[in-house]
């Protein structure tokens, strides 16, 4: 560490590279998570649809499935639009 660096580290907002790294780590982790979910989602969606269709008449378009993660916790969101 030299004198110039000492000056700079006292002004943290100047170190934009550190901010860049932090932001990247968060977004990349998020995107990897949703990527790894993507593989089995279509198959699971089909299975869930079949189960519902045993009892209620609905179309493929009426079901929407999302896998999301927040604060280290995964959330499976299933939206089924029932016919009226």
């Amino acid at each position: 560490m030299n004198l110039m660096q000492l000056f700079r580290s006292s002004r943290k907002e100047d170190n934009s590279a550190a901010i860049a790294k932090e932001r990247l780590q968060i977004i990349v982790a998020h995107e990897r998570n949703s990527r790894s979910g993507r593989d089995f989602l279509p198959a699971m969606e089909r299975d869930i649809l079949q189960v519902i269709q045993k009892y209620i008449e609905i179309q493929q378009e009426c079901i929407d499935i999302k896998l999301d993660s927040q604060d280290g916790c995964s959330i499976l969101e299933v939206n089924v639009q029932l016919p009226n």
Binding site: L3, A17, K21, I27
Partner: protein
Amino acid sequence: MARIIVVTSGKGGVGKTTTSSSIATGLALKGHRTVVIDFDVGLRNLDLLMGCERRVVYDFVNVINGEAELHQALIRDKRTENLSILPASQTRDKEALTHEGVEKVLNQLAKDFEYIICDSPAGIEHGALMALYFADEAIITTNPEVSSVRDSDRILGILQSKSRRAVENLEPVKEHLLVTRYNPDRVTRGEMLNIQDVEEILAIPLIGVIPESTSVLKASNQGVPVVCNTESDAGQAYNDVVARFLGEDIPHRFLEPAKKGFLQRMFGGIG
């Protein structure tokens, strides 16, 4: 067996074509029979960087469509006898490259060449997917900058799920991280991500670091791959990359600010 290597990035303008031309030339200079293919349909550029733009008669799409024989489209490099170039088509039809067509040409090239370098277009659309589909190895070209790193990660995801090796459940594509346009001065000032940051985020092995260098523009002006300029920092860095690719173990260079000015030496002498 020929090795197929894709040079890819997701983000545009990060140095893929610069890298493809230099790595292909470097491999050929070391005695390996090499061909470099421009996959950037509609935006042909590799020919310019290789300095063979006036010798293009037929292109990749002509060969796929059966309008020309492969040997008619291949351009022999004038500097390096082991090297050939297959130029991209200037057609506006982005779907001109088909799986079957590309595979047929690659199979034919594999009979004559040891290394097949595929210069990918930017993006994650058809052209980029075609360029990476048949790859055995990938050089992930990345600038130390947020959007480039994020796009590189997306491309890694695609390599791991949509490449032939992924689809056919074969051994995964071998991934190499190449950081280009690295500016050690700006890294020291905390203005640019450093190599460890990029490595940590992408978590793949580093094959080289190419410094931001005026010699790159100069080389492209002249149509001579920068790897041929052995005096320049970028040329030497690309030479190192080729050597590492061939299995040599050499330390990374050009990671520190090059010349220190008077003031900087005064203030920077302690650390």
